[in-house]
Symmetry: C2
């Protein structure tokens, strides 16, 4: 691509990039159809123009539902080595993208170490770096400077970050809605809390909203995909789909159109804590207000009380969201709400989100997904254990579980032993 | 209750049993409304008349979604002690009912030991005992005798079993449908496989169908709730909602009406492996064909390829099923399809199913369920860790996770440390 071009502008010119061709192949789509979806802003390929080795990945309508895994340090747990082990776990467990949400230690060094070791699209939330610097050098979030924020964004774009969460829709109007709404859970987005604190203290508009064109210029230069964050996403079921959330979503829809007009790839982030009966509404509302932009959901968690098992609450919400049109699921680990996840919890979170994404792909009748489940079922009918391990989502765990409890006969398992229904039917019923 | 009466006949007479009053209290329902639902067959209270100490539990429309946990030995893993540890895990993790599916060791001794140690309603699948005896003493399932089957049913009823799975709808007509359908996964129900094998070998009708009145007489005598099993439930997504499954379901609807007419409490078992986009259809079809009888789902598993994590695939399907009207969720453990579950896997399975049931209760707008999530969110806003542990589903695991990674400040966790959004908003934003 020439300077100034992005995947979006090329698609709009009716041309195909090598990345579009790779994504079309990977998804089993006609390249022209993918190009049309990209030109309309229904699909993004998050890839910084200066990163040569990133795996081309499409996110959006008509494509396989993708999974993101968050890693990164915190002030209380800032060792970079552990984050690289988590990165390896993300790869091994099959995450499609990774976000580095570090807020502890040397943020730039950690980010660069991650960039050097992954070919997955990498996302960040640049306001974290600006906030950590404001607290570290000037004593508080309120000392965050507008220039400091944009410098962090520009620096991370120049390092090769592929997509960035920017909470541009958290406007003063949205904060007014929040106040008049009254919430049980307030603000639970870190970026949202940083911005709201700053905005209220200084009595000023959100700089990411006010200076949105400055953001678009950086994003276009590097073809960074903007992930418009939902700073007011509900953090309690009681707050789901409230006026504050929808006010922000309307603003995100306007900003998404401006991004597309500027040739910048854009997706929209969504809730959060949402009861199961409101998941469909949230997806359809977003797709309508944001004119079909790819939807990246942070959950949704379908209950507040699953601490220790929030990956399961998230899998339930994510699967249903995916069935109704969400394109990209952010994982949640069993440690959510309790602590920074361990390497094993990262792995567990990725697999749970992949189950949700796959269940959604099946519900959306994606032929390649159905072929895999069919192959698994055929292996089961033959009690072909190696075939089952090959087709299942996590062969390592499936094999370990079977090995931990060996049956007396090779062709059954210890659940039913000789009373295996599959074996009985195969050996007897089919011969009659 | 007098001899010959059941919870159903009493309700139909417009009277209330102590069990109905207890269930109404527990559910926050007017006793008369519960009585009406019971009289109509939309709610059951599975309690054998001779078991004095069983916890009164309602299952059906308008009630909290309930969770069953299967325990029991297999020929390859027949130690009874382990099953009693699993029973304790079911209690501790909050299962509403337990089924003993033992097929290995001294079945009667195991069942009696379980009955002696639990006040939860206990379910069984009596054909397992008859089949194990036929194999053990006569060399094969085909030697199962009709009298032996009914003797097993009568003996278990006389021991105090509260509900029984009986695959009465697996008729010759249903097997014909199965043959003409052609399936990827064949028959995966153990009871279904036993019966089909016997029926085809002997060229005879299903004895549980042919002699259904004999079954009803035993059930009425002890007020055993019949759980009409789905011997042809799909064991592969490719087979979901096929003609064989629906043929059997139609028969179950007819049999359910006959049970109710005979004063016998009855519920219906359902799939199985079902893609997410067919879950709602399955629930609505069952509720229509079976005239509102309580629906007990075995899953549904929304993908075939989650071996090692089938409790998550089940939680996704169970939550959606519950939202659309399923009343009773059978858990699945991480060991499903691989081996008999361990004690820890039983615990994990119960919690996953409880998350699904609770998500469904929230979607169905049950006020008591919403109050709990709200209390949890309020504790979160105060970073009141003891409050969070109190309101969450599994305080033991939540506390252990937090203890494993202590933050530097008591009021945050190691995920965000000092950059905790909740803390920031509470300490700063709310004061502006």
């Amino acid at each position: 691509m020439k300077p100034g071009e992005t995947q979006l502008t090329v698609a709009r010119d009716g041309r195909l990039t090598p990345e579009m061709e790779a994504v079309a192949r990977d998804e089993g789509l006609a390249p022209d159809r993918l190009g049309e979806a990209m030109a309309a802003g229904r699909v993004v390929i998050p890839k910084n123009r200066i990163r040569p080795d990133v795996r081309p990945l499409g996110i959006g309508s008509g494509l396989r539902v993708k999974v993101n895994a968050n890693i990164g340090t915190s002030p209380d747990d800032s060792g970079p080595d552990n984050e690289l082990l988590k990165l390896a776990a993300c790869h091994e467990a099959g995450a499609d993208t990774v976000m580095d949400l570090s807020t502890g230690g040397d943020l730039q060094a950690i980010r660069r170490a991650i960039l050097a070791r992954t070919d997955l699209p990498l996302g960040t939330v640049p306001i974290y770096q600006a906030a950590v610097e404001a607290v570290g050098t000037r004593g508080g979030i309120i000392h965050l400077s507008v220039d400091g924020l944009f410098e962090a964004i520009a620096a991370q774009a120049a390092e090769g970050v592929d997509f960035m969460t920017v909470h541009c829709g958290l406007t003063r109007a949205a904060i007014d809605r929040l106040r008049s709404q009254g919430r049980v859970g307030g603000i639970v987005s870190r970026g949202g809390a940083f911005l709201a604190t700053w905005m209220i203290y200084h009595d000023q508009e959100n700089p990411l909203y006010e200076h949105y064109d400055r953001l678009l210029n950086i994003a276009r230069e590097y073809d960074v995909t903007l992930s418009l964050g939902d700073g007011l996403r509900p953090g309690s079921l009681a707050d789901a789909t409230d006026r504050a959330q929808v006010e922000e979503l309307i603003a995100l829809g306007e900003l998404a159109r401006r991004a597309k007009e500027a040739g910048v790839q854009v997706m929209i982030e969504g809730p959060g804590h949402v009861p199961l009966d409101q998941v469909e509404t949230n997806i359809k509302l977003m797709k309508s207000l944001c004119e079909g932009a790819p939807f990246y959901v942070l959950g949704p968690l379908v209950t507040d009380i699953a601490a220790g098992y929030d990956h399961i609450a998230c899998a339930i919400g994510g699967a249903l969201a995916g069935m109704h049109g969400a394109d990209f699921l952010c994982y949640v680990t069993p440690a959510e709400h309790l602590k920074l996840p361990s390497v094993e919890e990262v792995r567990e979170g990725v697999i749970a989100a992949r189950i949700a994404a796959h269940a959604a792909d099946l519900a959306r009748r994606r032929p390649q997904s159905w072929a895999r489940d069919r192959a698994m079922s055929e292996a089961r009918q033959k009690t072909d254990w190696e075939g089952m391990f090959q087709h299942c989502l996590d062969p390592i765990r499936a094999r370990a579980l079977r090995e931990s409890s060996r049956p007396s006969a090779e062709d059954v398992c210890t659940m039913c032993g000789e009373f295996c229904a599959v074996k009985l039917v195969r050996e007897f019923l089919t011969k009659c």
